[in-house]
């Protein structure tokens, strides 16, 4: 018999940091809070219907990925005026931050799927199989998105 679902608070405590980290990297500090709230509200609504023994980390990051996409789409439509992810950094961080600034601008430029693949791999440490499940594609396609995204970021950052 599989383990019953943990109380939601325990699930929240166990995953709040990975979700925060993923959203901070995906949508930036300004929108991370709203995306975080939307992610866990959606998780809370669906929670009792979840099969016991589900991979909770992969599940909540799939939701977070979708909320990050919504946020990017809204921003692309110009619906919400928002600072770039690196903008906060830019004022507080002196010259050593220049490399990072370039990197986060490049992250912002990535196609949605590539950005999510890169973040799910390097920020959330998900295996390729779970990345594929989260962004809704084959494992091969997930590997390809990850590789392409990473290649673009490497080119953007001055060696």
């Amino acid at each position: 018999m599989s383990e019953p679902l943990p109380p939601f608070q325990r699930f929240l405590d166990a995953h709040r940091e990975i979700v925060w980290r993923f959203l901070l990297a995906s949508v930036g500090p300004v929108e991370a809070e709203d995306c975080f709230q939307d992610t866990f509200v959606a998780a809370l609504r669906a929670y009792p219907r979840l099969r016991a023994g589900s991979n909770l980390r992969s599940w909540v990051l799939t939701i977070a990925h979708n909320k990050a996409l919504d946020s990017h789409r809204a921003r692309a439509r110009g619906a919400i005026p928002v600072a770039e992810p690196a903008a906060v950094d830019r004022r507080t961080e002196p010259s050593p931050g220049a490399r990072d600034e370039t990197l986060w601008e490049a992250v912002e430029e990535l196609p949605d799927r590539q950005r999510s693949a890169v973040m799910l791999r390097y920020v959330a440490d998900l295996p390729h199989r779970d990345i594929a499940a989260a962004i809704g594609c084959s494992e091969e396609a997930a590997r390809r998105s990850l590789h392409e995204g990473l290649t673009k970021l490497r080119k953007a950052v001055p060696a």
Partner: protein, 230 residues
Amino acid sequence: MNENQPPQEHEMVAEALRRGPGAGPGASASAAGALGGDAQADVERAAAGAARRLADRAASEGLADVSYAPVDSPFGPLLAATTERGLVRLAFPEESIDTVLERLARHLSPRIVESSAPLDPLRRELEDYFHGTRRTFEVALDWSLIGPFGRRVLRVTSDIPYGGVLSYGEVAAEAGSPRGSRAAGNALGSNPIPIVIPCHRVLRTGGALGGYGGGLDRKRYLLELEGAIE
């Protein structure tokens, strides 16, 4: 196509991604992608704050089915849990929080969050009660953790006035129990909301304390507080 790139290049990008925006290279003092102490602490604090806001919101907007929080008592912090209907559980400090929460998840709903505000009315009533300035509790109760027989026993128990006592046999008889005082004792012993449902007011015939889920010292303390015993 990446033969020309030194492998560290990948690592540097990966490491910067792990640090997240807002943390320059100087923020990472430690090696191999691990975060420096300050940046790590900042992320943890921000995530904890966001989680706290989520839990409070889930409780106040009715998205969660159960809210819990510690409430003060002379016995130490009690774990109190409430549903939309009312107080459903009050646990003594020695009970494991995880065990209490897991049972609530199994028997009521896994949508459980920690939030202090829904327990504020109970907090005020308990404070008054332990100061001796309150004789009855007014917070609503949720009886859903209590079976049919337990409900009959505990409703009789709820009607015992402050300062009064009944025997196990009297409670059993009033609850209409053919099973007698032992069954009533078991129902009292599994009272999920002690103090507020005053199972401490049930004694052995002749006045011996009998049993108490929270320990006899506490039963005596409560009865002395209420002036039921010297």
